[in-house]
C-alpha cells in the first residue's frame, strides 16, 4: 500500500467535541479518514491559533471505544441496559411509525423536542419539531436559565442584545483604528478557565488586560479575575440586582451619567401616572389619541406634548422635554391627575439603595461599591461582561434591566470598546432566537398556540420561542391541558447535567410512551430511550455558524462508520413527517440560511469566515444614531417605543414591574431563616472546569485526569468546624436531597459558602446502568419550579446546605 497523504481541513468548532458554543478556527490533520492531530488556525481572527484543552483532546474523543456506532432499540425496561443494535433504516421506520401514531392520536404538540446547551443543534431540533408540527421545543434547564433570559431581558429594554467589544467585528481586530481598548471592564459572575461564554472567546479578556484594561470583578469566589482586579466585590450570591442599583445610586447621585444619552436616547421625560403607576399615554389625554404614543411635559411652553412612536418624533420638534418635576394633567374623562417623569421614578428606585444599605444586603463594603461605581462610570470606554449566574436567579429580568441601565447611562452602548449590539452576522439566522426570526419556522403560526408556557409568560410571546421547561415537567404529570406522550432528546442529558431535581426527571421519563435519544455516548438519560441514534462530532459534519460574528461554515473532515450528524438525522426524519418539506438537501437549507450574506455554503466554505461590511446592521458602531437598528430606519432602538426604556413598556404590558428592583431570592439566609438554621451554608453550584463541558467529557482520559473527582470547595475555617480535611469525601445535603463530593479545602470560597461542581456521573462505572448519576449530582439539592414571574430564571446559584464527613464503610446508595 502506498503512503497516504495527510490532508489539512480547515473548519470551525461548534457542538459535540469540545462541547462549546464554538467559533474557533481549527486545522484538522486527516490521514486515511482518521484525525491524527488538531491545531488552532493561526489565520483565524477568533482564536488566532489558540485552542482549548477540550478541542485539543479530539483524537481521544473521535476514536473512543465507547462511542455509539449503531442505532439501538430498547428491549428491557426503561433505565436498564438492555438494548439491541438495529439498522438506521429500521430505526427511522420505528420512529416514523411511533411518532406518527402519537401525532394522530394526541396531536403533534404531545411530542416535546428537547436539547441541552445551545450548539449546532437548536436549528435542527426546531426543523424536526416544526416539520412534525409541534411548537414544543425545549431547552431542558429550569427557568430556561441560560442565555435566552438575558437576551430576552435586553431585547425588552433596549431592543437588541449586546456584548463586550473585543474588536471581534473588525478586520485586523485590536489593531483596527476604529477600535478602542476599554479602560475598565466589569466581570460580573464569570470565571475564565477556558470556557468560552455566550459565543465569545473568553481569553479575549486576557488580551484586553494585557492592553491595559482594568478590572472590577463581582464574584463570591476568588477567581483568576478577582485576584487581578482593581476592585473585587465579593458578593453574597443572589443579591446582584441590589449591587447594580447601588452602582446606579452612586452614578446618579454624583452625576456621572451621560446627560446627552439620557435626554436623546432614553424615555426619561415620559410621564408616569401617580394614580396607576403606569405610563401616561396619548389615548389618556387626547380624543383619538394612540395608546402607543406617550406624553412628556415641555419646559418652554409649559404644556404637554406627545411622543409619536410611529414617527419617532415629538409633536413639537422644538420642545425641551422636562426630565424632572410633578405635573398636573387633565385626562379625557375630565379628571385631573398628577404625573412624575420616568427619570424621577427611576431615580426613586435607585435612591433607597445607598452604598450602606447595599453593603448590608450584598456583604460588599460600601466604600468598595462607591469606588467601583466611580471607576466604571468615569472610564471611557468601559464595558461589562456578565456570566450565566445572571440568568440563574428568579428575578433575572429586573437584574438585567439594572445592569443595562449602567452601560446605557454611562454612554457605553454601541461605542468602540463598550457594550456593543450584537446580531447574527449578516442577519443570517437559522432559527428563531430572541429578537430574530429564522429561516426555520413553524409552517403555520396557529400551531404555536399550544406551546407550553406561552400564554402564562409575556416573554414567551415576544422573544422566547421555546416552551417553558418547568411547565413541561408539570404537564407531563398533570396531563393538563393536554397529555405529553413523547420526547425527542438530542444531546441532552437531564439525569446528569441539565435537569434540576433529577429524580423528578426520572419519573417524567418513566411516564412517557416514546423517547428517542440522540447522542455520541451512552448516558444515564439515554437508558430511558426507546430508540437511540448515534450522532457525530463537529469534525464529521457540514454546518453553518452565524451566532454573532464571524459568519462561518463547519466543514466535514472525516466520517465515523455508523454515526450520523444531527442535521442529517433530523433532515431525513423531517422529510418523512412533512410531505411538503421545503428543502431537497441540507446544502439547500444552508444556502437559504446564508442568503443574506450573498454567499452560498460552498463560497463561504472556501473563504472559511466572513465579517459583515461597514454600515451593516450586524456591524458596530453607533447604530442607534445611524438608524441601523429599527426596521423603519429611524435613529433609536428596536424597542416598542424607540428609546432605551428605563421604564419598560413591555413589562408594563405583561403586568410586571416596569422599573428595575431587587428581591431577595427564595432560599437564602434572609428569606428562609427557618431553613438556614439547619442548613447554615450558602450552596453555590456550577463553577466551570476547563476539562469538561457540563456533563460531558468525564470519559476522555486526557481531560478526566485534569479534574478527576466531583469536588466541593470548602473554606479552611468551615472545614475545621465540620471536622473535614482536604481530599476527604463529604456529603452535601439539604431538604431536597444529598450528594457526595471530595472536599477541596481552599480559600477560593468564603467561609459562609461552599461551591459544588456540577454535571457529574461516572461513565467508567458500568456496574450501574445509570452510571451512578444520582450519587454526586448536585442537582439533587436543587428544586424545579422556582422560575421568576416572567417564567425565566431559577435559583440554582444560591441555595442552602450543610456538609458532613462521609461515614466510611457505608454503601454509596445508603449515604
Amino acid at each position: 500500500m502506498g503512503k497516504s497523504k495527510t490532508n489539512i481541513v480547515k473548519t470551525t468548532t461548534w457542538s459535540a467535541g469540545p462541547g462549546c458554543h464554538g467559533g474557533c478556527g481549527v486545522l484538522a490533520h486527516i490521514k486515511d479518514n482518521k484525525l491524527i492531530k488538531i491545531e488552532g488556525d493561526p489565520d483565524h481572527p477568533w482564536n488566532q491559533g489558540r485552542l482549548c484543552a477540550r478541542a485539543l483532546a479530539m483524537t481521544q474523543y473521535i476514536d473512543h471505544h465507547d462511542r455509539l456506532k449503531s442505532p439501538l432499540k430498547r428491549v428491557g425496561k426503561r433505565g436498564e441496559d438492555q438494548f439491541v443494535e438495529i439498522s438506521w433504516d429500521e430505526a427511522f421506520d420505528i420512529i416514523e411509525e411511533k411518532m406518527k401514531a402519537i401525532r394522530d392520536d394526541f396531536g403533534p404538540e404531545s411530542m416535546i423536542f428537547s436539547m441541552g446547551t445551545g450548539r449546532d443543534i437548536g436549528p435542527w431540533i426546531c426543523m424536526l419539531a416544526y416539520a412534525y408540527g409541534s411548537p414544543n421545543v425545549m431547552f431542558a434547564l429550569s427557568g430556561n436559565a441560560c442565555y435566552s433570559p438575558r437576551i430576552a431581558a435586553l431585547d425588552t429594554v433596549q431592543g437588541d442584545y449586546c456584548v463586550f467589544d473585543a474588536a471581534q467585528w473588525l478586520p485586523g481586530r485590536y489593531d483596527n483604528p476604529e477600535y478602542k481598548v476599554p479602560e475598565c471592564m466589569i466581570i460580573w459572575g464569570y470565571n475564565i478557565s477556558a470556557t468560552c461564554p455566550d459565543n465569545l472567546f473568553g481569553h479575549w479578556i486576557i488580551d484586553l488586560m494585557k492592553k491595559g484594561t482594568k478590572l472590577i470583578t463581582i464574584d463570591p469566589r476568588l477567581s483568576f479575575f478577582a485576584s487581578r482586579s482593581k476592585h473585587w466585590l465579593q458578593i453574597r450570591p443572589g443579591t446582584d440586582a441590589a449591587l447594580a442599583l447601588g452602582f446606579l445610586h452612586v452614578i446618579i447621585k454624583e452625576q456621572l451619567y451621560d446627560q446627552n444619552f439620557l435626554e436623546t436616547f432614553t424615555d426619561a421625560p415620559r410621564l408616569v401616572r401617580n394614580d396607576t403607576g403606569k405610563l401616561l399615554r396619548e389615548s389618556d389625554v387626547l380624543k383619538n389619541g394612540s395608546r402607543d404614543n406617550f406624553v412628556v411635559f415641555d419646559n418652554q411652553t409649559n404644556t404637554i406634548i406627545i411622543w409619536n412612536t410611529h414617527k419617532q418624533e415629538y409633536s413639537n420638534s422644538r420642545s425641551t422635554p422636562s426630565l424632572t418635576g410633578l405635573f398636573e394633567v387633565e385626562l379625557l374623562n375630565g379628571k385631573t391627575i398628577t404625573c412624575a417623569t420616568v427619570w424621577d421614578k427611576f431615580k426613586e428606585s435607585c435612591a433607597e439603595y445607598t452604598p450602606e444599605k447595599v453593603e448590608k444586603i450584598t456583604l460588599v463594603l460600601a466604600k468598595d461599591i462607591e469606588k467601583a461605581a466611580r471607576l466604571y462610570a468615569k472610564a471611557k470606554p468601559a464595558s461589562i461582561h456578565w456570566g450565566v449566574p445572571i440568568d440563574m436567579t428568579p428575578e433575572i429580568t429586573p437584574l438585567c434591566h439594572a445592569i443595562a441601565s449602567l452601560w446605557a447611562l454611562t454612554g457605553n452602548l454601541d461605542v468602540p470598546g463598550g457594550n456593543v449590539f450584537t446580531r447574527s452576522a449578516f442577519n443570517a439566522v437559522a432559527y428563531a432566537l430572541p429578537g430574530a426570526e429564522g429561516v426555520i419556522k413553524l409552517k403555520d403560526q396557529a400551531q404555536d398556540k399550544t406551546r407550553i408556557g406561552k400564554d402564562e409568560y409575556g416573554p414567551f410571546n415576544k422573544f422566547i420561542w421555546r416552551c417553558q421547561t418547568d411547565k413541561v415537567i408539570e404537564q407531563i404529570f398533570s396531563e393538563k391541558p393536554y397529555p405529553v406522550k413523547g420526547l425527542w432528546m438530542q444531546t441532552c442529558n437531564p439525569l446528569s447535567g441539565i435537569g434540576l431535581d433529577p429524580k423528578l426527571w426520572q419519573k417524567a421519563l418513566e411516564k412517557l410512551d416514546f423517547i428517542v435519544g440522540v447522542d455520541l455516548f451512552m448516558t444515564p438519560s439515554l437508558r430511558y430511550a426507546d430508540i437511540i441514534l448515534p450522532a457525530a462530532t463537529f469534525l464529521e459534519k457540514d454546518g453553518v455558524r452565524s451566532w454573532w460574528v464571524p459568519l462561518q461554515t463547519i466543514n466535514k473532515a472525516l466520517t465515523v462508520d455508523g454515526c450520523r450528524p444531527d442535521v442529517e438525522i433530523n433532515f431525513e426524519l423531517s422529510k418523512r413527517f412533512d410531505p411538503d418539506f421545503k428543502w431537497e438537501t441540507i446544502h439547500d437549507l444552508f444556502d437559504e440560511i446564508l442568503k443574506p450574506s450573498e454567499m452560498s455554503f460552498d463560497q463561504l466554505s472556501k473563504k472559511g469566515w466572513a465579517l459583515p461590511p461597514e454600515n451593516h446592521a450586524s456591524r458596530p458602531y453607533f447604530r442607534h444614531e445611524k438608524g441601523l437598528l429599527r426596521s423603519d430606519g429611524m435613529p433609536g432602538f428596536a424597542t416598542p417605543s424607540g428609546k432605551f426604556e428605563l421604564y419598560s413598556t413591555l413589562r408594563e404590558k405583561w403586568g410586571l414591574e416596569a422599573l428595575p428592583y431587587f428581591k431577595e431570592p427564595p432560599f437564602t439566609p434572609i428569606s428562609r431563616p427557618d431553613l438556614f438554621k439547619d442548613y447554615p451554608l450558602i450552596l453555590g453550584t456550577g463553577r466551570r472546569s476547563p476539562a469538561f463541558f457540563h456533563a460531558e467529557h468525564r470519559n476522555i482520559p486526557w481531560l478526566r485526569t485534569l479534574d478527576p473527582d466531583p469536588v466541593v470547595e470548602i473554606h479552611p475555617e468551615t472545614a475545621r468546624k465540620n471536622k473535614i480535611s482536604n481530599g476527604e469525601w463529604v456529603i452535601v445535603e439539604n431538604w431536597m436531597g444529598k450528594a457526595r463530593f471530595k472536599a477541596k479545602v481552599t480559600k477560593i470560597v468564603p467561609p459562609w459558602m461552599v461551591m459544588a461542581a456540577h454535571g457529574w456521573w461516572f461513565p467508567e462505572k458500568k456496574d450501574d446502568p445509570l452510571f451512578h448519576t444520582f450519587e454526586s449530582n448536585i442537582n439533587m439539592l436543587i428544586p424545579m419550579n422556582e422560575q421568576g414571574k416572567d417564567g425565566l430564571g431559577t435559583p440554582m446559584k444560591h441555595l442552602l446546605c450543610r456538609i458532613r464527613k462521609e461515614v466510611t464503610g457505608v454503601k454509596n446508595n445508603e449515604i
Binding site: R50, L51, I192, I206, L222, S223, F224, P690
Partner: protein, 112 residues
C-alpha cells in the same frame, strides 16, 4: 549574545489554568494520561489581613523535550502555540532573560 540553549519564558500573571498546554503536549507527543510535558499548578497564596491571591503556574515536567521536532521546523512548541493566554514564549535563554526585566511576575525555565 546568544546562549546555545533554549527554554520557556512563563508569564504566570496571565496563566488562567486552562490546561490547553497540558493537553497540547499530550497530543503532540502521544502521552497517555496522566503523563504530560506540562503540569499546571494552582497556588492560593496567603496574604496579610486574611487575604489571598490565586495563581496558576504552568510547570514543564521531566517529560518536556521542548518540542524539538517542531522547533527544528521553525514551529513554536505545541504548548506555546496553543496557550490560550499567550503567556508562554519559546526562545533563546539569554534573549528571554532580557525579557524578564521588562515585566514582573514571570519565570524562566531551562530544560533538563
Amino acid at each position: 549574545m546568544k546562549s546555545n540553549k533554549n527554554g520557556l519564558l512563563i508569564d504566570y500573571e496571565y496563566c488562567t489554568g486552562c490546561f490547553a498546554c497540558t493537553v497540547a503536549c499530550c497530543q503532540e507527543h502521544g502521552w497517555e494520561a496522566p503523563l504530560s510535558g506540562m503540569k499546571v499548578m494552582e497556588i492560593v497564596q496567603d496574604l496579610p489581613k486574611d487575604k489571598a491571591y490565586l495563581t496558576f503556574l504552568p510547570f514543564p515536567t521531566e517529560l518536556c523535550v521542548l518540542c524539538a521536532k517542531r522547533t527544528q521546523k521553525g514551529l513554536d512548541p505545541s504548548c506555546v502555540k496553543h496557550c490560550m493566554a499567550n503567556c508562554l514564549t519559546y526562545g533563546n535563554l539569554r534573549e528571554l532573560a532580557l525579557e524578564l526585566e521588562k515585566k514582573p511576575r514571570m519565570v524562566l525555565w531551562s530544560p533538563r
